[in-house]
Structures are given as structure tokens and as C-alpha cells.
Symmetry: C2
Subunit: 172 residues, 2 copies
């Protein structure tokens, strides 16, 4: 099954982390691949790395909006290592993972940092054996069309609008 | 800060579990109080119970829709133990928890199984020291009004509509 956590609201990544915890709690195996996130910044990584049955991979450790001095060709190049990992996963014949979470890959798709056609082909292949969650703003129409379950995290009220800053535990 | 995860879509509880993991990853202390959920059913409980700095409490271990032979007075009575726990938390002078998650309490509020005025008073007091997350469908207007951050998990696409059944790891 292909699931998407999309939208401008809070909860896309945290819901995918909760899903990981739910899978692990049943003894299932999980692969968590993150894009654009510093390893030492997000609290969840400290806990997840200590859990059994979870493989964690992280590529391009800064969000594109902080990489304004890096041109998109170079950014796409950085993202190619994440695509290599996906290609590698499709080559495994046995079912290695029950759940594969691709955090922030929607952003890479939206910004054309990864090739949508190839990504869709890889996802279709992977979802034959594993459940897949893709998170991030900017899910493309094609991805929404092929997804089985799509949830929009919709911002109803957010304190950022009143000038509140991102806070440890809350946003990272 | 008071945060609400509301709406008919998937991800309200999993996002709160992800938030718990994020807080714990920074060494913060968390209290997780669930309503209406069997202890042996939800995968996340198996992982959460093994983590340090997390206190877990569970009340009324079935969802009201499976308790159709229990009248609402009896149900409200069952929920009163959860309210006792909240009252107890407000009596602690020191800051015991950085985050308190009240899972499915919106359902209890919607169905008038807990008193809204008292719940709001308790939450206001608790949120002076701790961040609070309340999840569940049917958040009341009063709660939305006093919340700082409200996210609606909106169902864009869901396989239930095509007859797919709830599945281990995905929904529980």
C-alpha cells in the first residue's frame, strides 16, 4: 500500500514516525529514509536509532531552502544517492522491509530534484512487497493518483503566524 | 502550548506518537494518556512502554462504538478515572512532564463523557507547565478556540472506501 502524508500543516513526519513505532511494535521490519534533515537536530532520530528492526538512512542533510547557494543541478546530484538507495531496495528479492518511509521525498519531487517517472516506477515495484509512506509538502498529481491512502495535514491554527519560533520537541 | 490533532483522516494518534518520540529524543519527559484503546492491540504501546522518561496510562480500554451495550452514564463513569489522573497531574507543583498527550479525549468531549468546562480548566492549568496534545475526532469549538496549534488530518483518499479492512501496523 502506498500512503502519502501531505499538506502545509504539522504532523507529516511525526505521523510517519508514529507509523514506524506501530510497525516495530508488531515486530515488523522498517526502513526509514530521510531527505534534507540534519542528523543532530531532530529528536526522533535519537530514539529511532536505538530501536531494533529499523534501518535508518539520511541523505542531503539540509533542507533546500537553506541551500540557496547550491544550484539545482548540484542539489539533484546530492539527491541521487537517495535514489541509489531506492534502486538498491528494489533489487532485493526477498521481503526485507514491511514498511519503507520516504520522509520529505515529496519536496524533492516538487522541486524536480529527483525524476518523477523513475521514482514512480521504483515505488510501484517496492509497494508490491512493502507498505510505503511518502511525506512532505508538494506531492505531485501522479503520486496522489497512484497512492492508496492520502492524508492532508491541514493547518487550522498555527502559532508561527503569531511570531512563535520553532521549538525543540515541537518542530524538531 | 496546547495542540490538537483533529479530523476524519489518518494520523492523529500516530502524529502524537511521533511527537512523543521527538520529545523523548531530546531527553524530555512525557506522559501519554490514552482513552478507548486496548492494551494488547496497538503496536505502538509495545515500543513506548520500553522507553525511558515516558509514563503511560490507559483508561476505558474499548472504543465507545464497541460498547453499545454500555449506557452513557456508565461510560462517563468509566472516563472519570481518566479525569482523576488529569486532576492528579494538576496537583503536582514541580514540572513533571514536558509533554502530556491525551489520546482520543476529543471523542470523550464530543460524546459528553467528560465535562468540558472542567476539562478546559484542567488543560489550561496543565499547559502552563507542559505542552499538551489532544487527539481525536470531534474537537469541540471551545477547545479549538483555546488551542495554540490545530491540525486537521483530512482524508483525501482512503482504501476503506474500496472495502479494504483495517490492518496490523497500518491502523493498529
Amino acid at each position: 500500500m502506498l500512503m502519502l502524508n501531505i499538506g502545509d500543516g504539522k504532523g507529516k513526519t511525526t505521523a510517519s514516525v508514529g507509523q514506524i513505532i506501530r510497525f516495530l511494535g508488531h515486530g515488523f521490519k522498517v526502513c526509514f529514509i530521510q531527505l534534507f534533515k540534519d542528523n543532530d537536530y531532530y529528536g526522533e532520530q535519537n530514539i529511532l536509532l536505538g530501536l531494533e528492526n529499523l534501518d535508518f538512512f539520511s541523505f542531503v542533510k539540509k533542507h533546500p531552502c537553506y541551500l540557496y547557494n547550491v544550484n539545482s543541478e548540484r542539489l539533484a546530484n546530492l539527491c541521487s544517492s537517495a535514489m541509489d538507495k531506492l534502486r538498491e531496495l528494489t533489487c532485493i528479492n526477498s521481503k526485507k522491509y514491511d514498511l519503507i518511509v520516504l520522509d520529505e521525498f515529496n519536496v524533492a519531487l516538487r522541486d524536480k530534484l529527483i525524476n518523477e517517472d523513475e521514482f514512480v516506477a521504483l515505488i510501484k515495484k517496492l509497494s508490491q512487497k512493502s507498505d510505503i509512506v511518502v511525506t512532505g509538502r508538494g506531492a505531485t498529481k501522479v503520486l496522489i493518483d497512484i497512492a492508496d491512502l492520502v492524508t492532508e495535514m491541514k493547518e487550522v491554527k498555527h502559532p508561527y503566524k503569531n511570531g512563535v519560533q520553532a521549538r525543540k520537541g515541537i518542530e524538531y
